[in-house]
């Protein structure tokens, strides 16, 4: 039956819903240019916010037309893609080197060549690192802000328990194998572990390949790449893992480890040695409650012809949707917030003091993104704030300069790392794994990924 009440109710509810859905409105402006910068990881320490506020005020005083708004941001693979697609990324944010090439090829990064050149230090960057953010025409799409080299992390306590000298970490892969076996036999813990999933298996296999003189990909220089996964270095790296796992039984019982879980296992004292970025000390202590006393860092052993250490790190970039004005402001902020701490004494000291005051690591060994002299100068400036046990890292600090830094493969990096995860897992979980056949197949599959348009 028709009822005016029903009609009114229906009309009202339709209106109410329409009004709710239409309830978005543009924010008011203060006349200043609002620059949203991604800076805090979720759940950051209050001290980090306080330090940011000081820097924000200082920057805004020098740039009265810019209003900086700090936002929570942390690069994470899956969420980054969604943020990017949804347009919710800040105007300035950081991304790992491995993403840079694909991002810039996809038109997802703003071209900041002019800004970098205007700031006057385009030629100060470490060329291996700068290349990672340039396209084939040499245009620059971001500021490399920090980098790391691969290192061999080891547990000093387990070394001592196994009767090994924690001040003399292994320097060759044979020594790594012997130490791993001893640790395993004496302590029952995994002597050596390696990451295997969430693309980290491929990442570490590539690092272990480079350390043996192999390369998994050749850049043809014309935007195409050729896969060389079935090289001798990768074979040797997999053979090494196979021997540790099946002949020595020195890799423990967990073969599904990624960056987070291997650090967790290391912090819990279950892993004697593993390879990973040299800058992990900060996260180990801050996020995984590792006891600083147990930590030791050595260079990753280099062997064979043309070996090196795989480098990585992250770059500060400007959103591709930023206007020209926002791009200028973004570059100014990146220069102030990320770069001056590497270049300017006052900024370097301020940054180090702020970190030290909030009990964060200062002085973690890194790979200089600028030339070595500038980096040496910076370490000199912040010396009195250094709080990481650098004497437990001497093997790394003293020798990293002699190793050749090698950039990560650039073509479809993460997809190919994912492909290699399965290869590493196969070697560790199947005693009869045929390494040659696995590599041949992986090479073919990786090339198909590269060739796909």
């Amino acid at each position: 039956m028709k009822s005016p009440g029903k009609v009114a109710l229906a009309g009202f509810s339709a209106l109410a819903i329409a009004a709710t859905l239409a309830g978005c409105s543009a924010g008011g402006g203060s006349g200043k240019l609002e620059l949203r910068v991604g800076t805090f990881p979720a759940g950051a320490d209050p001290a980090a916010y306080e330090a940011f506020e000081k820097q924000e005020a200082d920057f805004e005083k020098a740039n009265p037309t810019i209003d900086v708004i700090g936002e929570e941001y942390e690069w994470k693979g899956p969420t980054f893609a969604v943020q990017l697609a949804g347009g919710s990324l800040p105007d300035v944010f950081t991304v790992p080197f491995t993403e840079a090439k694909t991002l810039l090829e996809n038109g997802q990064l703003a071209d900041v060549t002019k800004q970098v050149e205007d700031l006057g230090y385009a030629d100060k960057f470490n060329p291996v690192i700068l290349e990672g953010v340039q396209d084939n025409d040499g245009k620059i799409y971001g500021f490399p802000r920090q980098a790391y080299a691969m290192g061999l992390h080891y547990n000093r306590e387990l070394f001592t328990a196994a009767g090994l000298d924690p001040d003399k970490p292994p320097t060759t892969w044979d020594e790594v194998r012997a130490a791993a076996k001893t640790i395993s036999e004496k302590t029952g813990k995994a002597g050596f572990a390696t990451m295997t999933f969430n693309n980290t298996g491929g990442w570490q296999l590539t690092a272990q390949t480079v350390a043996r003189g192999g390369r998994t990909q050749v850049d043809n220089g014309d935007g195409t790449y050729t896969e060389t996964i079935d090289n001798e270095g990768t074979k040797a790296a997999l053979q090494f893992l196979h021997e540790l796992r099946w002949e020595d039984n020195s890799m423990g019982s967990n073969f599904l480890l990624d960056w987070g879980t291997i650090n967790q296992e290391f912090a819990a004292g279950n892993v004697g040695m593993y390879t990973g970025g040299s800058d992990v000390y900060t996260a180990l202590v801050r996020d995984f409650s590792t006891e600083p006393d147990i930590y030791g860092l050595a260079v990753i052993p280099n062997e064979g012809d043309d070996p090196g250490t795989l480098g990585g790190g992250d770059i500060a970039v400007v959103s591709p949707t930023a206007t020209e004005e926002e791009k200028e402001a973004g570059a100014k902020w990146i220069d102030y917030y990320y770069m001056q701490r590497l270049l300017d004494e006052k900024a370097a000291k301020f940054d180090a003091k702020t970190l030290a005051d909030s009990d964060q690591a200062v002085g973690t060994p890194v790979l200089p993104v600028l030339d070595p002299e500038t980096e040496e100068q910076r370490v000199g400036w912040i010396e009195k704030y250094i709080n990481v046990p650098r004497d437990q890292m001497t093997s790394f600090i003293d020798n990293i300069g002699t190793q050749l830094p090698v950039g990560e493969p650039k073509g479809k990096t993460q997809e190919i790392y994912a492909l290699l995860d399965a290869v590493v897992q196969a070697v560790l979980t199947d005693e009869d794994a045929d390494i040659d056949a696995l590599l041949e197949q992986a090479n073919k599959d990786a090339q198909a990924i590269l060739d796909a348009k």
């Binding site: 991002l103 295997t196 999933f197 897992q425 979980t429």
Partner: protein
């Protein structure tokens, strides 16, 4: 309250056959009669729901259909690529592996996970005292957030001799098992956890269905000298047939979309032995972290949806025929 003079079955029949009874000439429906008959207020009343449903439920479905024909990273303009995404997905060697793994998971879950809740529900319905406590205990795993459950089960599945399951096996002299660390045992381990996590929900549904079984049927069976087994086979299960059919198809659809367990426990490993179709979809969309393959991810989603749709249709057609015969 008045009592009906007709037997209920006849009443239903009469109500479902409007043409029966005295014939009245039908008036022609015009917009005016529709409005007069309350059509407008019905539509207005329905409008908010249709609007919300259309925006939040159907537009993403339509959008993903469109996206499956595009190459897009959702930032730069999308390009129409026809059926290329479908061709790429079908050519992916991992797809076959994912389909086989998904079927393997579904099969194992069906063999172990489907009868178990029925059995437990029947047993629990026989319990005279503390039924509520048993129901609560059975339902508890469903209350635990899945991510927490996975963390918990990681301890159980620890492959070292000190792992919870391996310790228990050790007591009876069985050597430690690899659980998630070997391609052979990873999938059955996932099914074990998934069964544990989902059984409680099914048990509650079966318990509710069991309540609707008329006690007279059991009494009659007892008079005829039926054993417990006879009663379950000849009374309980036939009475539960409708619920069992629905639960089975829900389980098939659910297991075909298994994602959480392989994603959180193994990431698809070791050596792709637990990669499932949904995990593959996820990897297309997010693995390279740049969302380059949204088109292929949606193409595979569309294919999965079509397969499940066809499967459900066939299943209902067949089970309808069974229930009519």
């Amino acid at each position: 309250m008045t009592t009906t003079q007709e037997p209920p079955a006849l009443a239903i029949q009469a109500a479902s056959e409007p043409s029966a009874g005295p014939q009245r000439p039908r008036r022609k429906r015009t917009p005016a009669t529709w409005v007069r008959g309350g059509g407008l207020s019905t539509l207005l009343f329905l409008l908010p729901m249709l609007f919300v449903f259309g925006i939040f439920s159907w537009s993403p479905i339509v959008q993903s259909l469109v996206m499956s024909l595009q190459k897009t990273n959702l930032l730069t303009p999308a390009t129409f690529v026809g059926l290329d995404n479908f061709a790429n997905v079908l050519a992916d060697p991992l797809l076959g592996r994912a389909v086989v793994n998904t079927l393997y998971f579904a099969g194992l879950a069906l063999v172990f996970g489907f009868p178990l809740p029925i059995l437990l529900a029947v047993l629990m319905s026989e319990v005279k005292r503390g039924k509520g406590l048993y129901s609560a205990l059975a339902y508890l795993p469903v209350v635990i957030p899945p991510v927490v459950a996975v963390l918990l089960w990681r301890f159980f599945f620890d492959a070292s001799p000190n792992g919870v399951f391996n310790s228990i096996l050790g007591w009876v002299g069985i050597p430690p098992q690899s659980w998630l660390q070997s391609a052979e045992t990873a999938m059955p381990s996932l099914v074990l956890e998934a069964t544990w996590a989902a059984a409680g929900g099914s048990i509650i549904i079966y318990l509710a269905a069991l309540l609707s079984v008329p006690p007279e049927l059991y009494d009659a069976a007892e008079v005829d000298g039926a054993t417990v087994w006879h009663k379950i086979w000849h009374v309980t299960l036939p009475q539960l047939r409708g619920v069992l059919f629905i639960m089975l198809i829900l389980q098939v659809i659910g297991t075909a979309q298994v994602f959480l367990e392989p994603y959180l426990f193994t990431g698809g490993g070791p050596n792709n032995s637990t990669i499932t179709v949904l995990l593959l979809i996820y990897k297309y969309a997010f693995q390279n972290s740049l969302g380059g393959n949204y088109g292929e991810a949606t193409a595979l989603s569309v294919m999965l949806a079509v397969v499940l749709g066809i499967l459900s249709f066939l299943y209902f057609t067949v089970t309808n025929r069974w229930s009519q015969s």
